[in-house]
Symmetry: C2
Subunit: 205 residues, 2 copies
DNA sequence: GTTCTTCCCTAACAATCGTTTGGTAGATTA
DNA sequence: TAATCTACCAAACGATTGTTAGGGAAGAAC
C-alpha cells in the first residue's frame, strides 16, 4: 500500500461550496472569456484569494472542464429523453428546440462559454468529450431532418447540412443575449423561434 | 515648433506590408482568440520576431482596432449602398443578407473576431465605434422589419426584436463555419438562408 | 481537552506576457 | 562615396500569469 496523501477534497465530499465556486467561475468565464479571466478575478468574485481556489480545484482548466461536463451531462439527459420518445420528425424538432431553450435558461453561462471556447478546446485531449458531444448532436439533428424530408414534412429543396447549421445556430446563439428572468420564458422563446424556423417570417399569400 | 521625432511609419506610407501583417494577425486572432494570441505567435506566422512588429504598430490592441475598423468601414460602404437604393422591405432584407454573406466571404477572419470579442471590447472608449456600428445596424434592420410588417409582407404576430435578433444571428454565425472557396458561393448561401428565413423549413400544406 | 479536519490566508515561485531600447544589414538617396 | 532610411534582430524590462508551500483559525470528533 502506498502512502495515501489524502489532503484535498477535489471531487469528494461537500459539493455545495464547490458548486458555488463553479457557478461564480462560470459567470466570469462567460462574461470576460476564459483566457481573459484570471484566477484572481474569480477569487475576487468569490470573496477569497487566488491561492485558496486551489484547495477546491487543482487548476483553472479543471474548473472549465467541470463546468462544461456538468452542462453537457444535463443537456444530454434532456436530449436523450426527447429522442427516446420516438416522436414524429416535426415533433422531435420542436421538442429538441424547446429543450435547448430550457438548457439555455438553466445553464446560460455554461452555454456561452461552450459557444465561445469549444472550437479551440475540442482538439485538446482533455476536452475530447466536447467533440464527441458535437458528433452526437449533429447525428441527432441530421437524422431528424432527414426523417422529416422523407416524411415530406420538411422541404426537400434545401441543402440539409446548411439547414442543420441554420437550425443549430439560431437556437444556441440566443444564449448570447438571453437573460433568465426576462420577459420571455424559455418556452415562449422556443415557440417564436419554432414559428420562424418552420414557417418563416414572410406573410403567406 | 516642437521636435518632430519622426521615426516610425505607423500609419503613413507603404501600406502593403502593413496590410499583410494585419491579415496574418487577423487570421491568428480569429483562430485562437484575441487574448489567447500572443504577439510572438503573430510574429512567428509572419516570419519575424515579436519586437519587430512594433516597428509597424504601436501595440497589439492597435492591430485589433485597425482590423475591426477596416472591416466595419467596408461593411458600411456596402450597407449604405443597399439602404440608399430605397427598395421595398423584402428586397431590402434580401439585399442586406446577401451583402452580409459577401462581407463574410471577404473578411471572414475579421467577422469571426468581431463576433467573439466585440461584446467585451465595446465598453472600452477605444472601441466605441463598435457600439456605434451596432446601433446603426440595429436601426437599419428594425426599420426594415417594421416597414415590412406595415406593408404586410412580414408577419405581424412575431415579436419584432426577437425577429431582429433571429435574422441577425442566423446570418453572422455563418462566419464560424464558412470557408471561402468552398462549394457554396456567398450568393448561393444567401439564397438558401433567405429561403429558410422567409418561408421556413416546413412543407406548406 | 486534545486532536483532526476543513477552509482559507500569506507569500512567494517560475514562466510568460506586451513592450522598449539599441543596433545593423541592405537598399535608397544625395 | 557618404549619408539616410527602411525593416528587421537581439536582448532585455517590469508586470502579470497560474500555481505552490506552509501556516493558522475555527469547529467537529473523540
Amino acid at each position: 500500500m502506498s502512502v495515501p496523501t489524502k489532503k484535498k477534497p477535489q471531487v469528494t465530499a461537500a459539493p455545495e461550496r464547490r458548486r458555488e465556486l463553479l457557478d461564480t467561475a462560470a459567470e466570469v468565464f462567460a462574461e470576460q472569456g476564459y483566457n481573459a479571466t484570471t484566477v484572481r478575478k474569480i477569487a475576487d468574485h468569490a470573496g477569497m484569494l487566488a491561492g485558496s481556489l486551489y484547495y477546491h480545484f487543482d487548476s483553472k482548466e479543471s474548473m472549465l472542464e467541470e463546468i462544461l461536463r456538468t452542462f453537457l451531462d444535463e443537456l444530454w439527459d434532456g436530449y436523450d429523453a426527447v429522442l427516446g420518445d420516438e416522436l414524429g420528425p416535426r415533433e422531435t424538432l420542436e421538442a429538441l428546440v424547446t429543450e435547448s431553450f430550457r438548457e439555455i435558461d438553466r445553464h446560460r453561462a455554461a452555454v456561452a462559454i461552450y459557444q465561445k471556447e469549444s472550437k479551440q478546446l475540442a482538439p485538446q485531449e482533455r476536452f475530447a468529450f466536447l467533440a464527441e458531444s458535437q458528433r452526437k448532436f449533429e447525428k441527432a439533428w441530421l437524422s431528424t431532418l432527414e426523417r422529416g424530408v422523407a416524411a415530406k414534412v420538411f422541404r426537400a429543396d434545401l441543402d440539409i447540412r446548411l439547414t442543420y447549421r441554420f437550425v443549430r445556430d439560431t437556437v444556441w446563439v440566443a444564449a448570447s443575449w438571453y437573460r433568465p428572468g426576462g420577459q420571455h420564458s424559455p418556452e415562449e422563446i422556443a415557440r417564436q423561434y419554432l414559428s420562424m424556423v418552420l414557417d418563416g417570417i414572410a406573410v403567406r399569400e
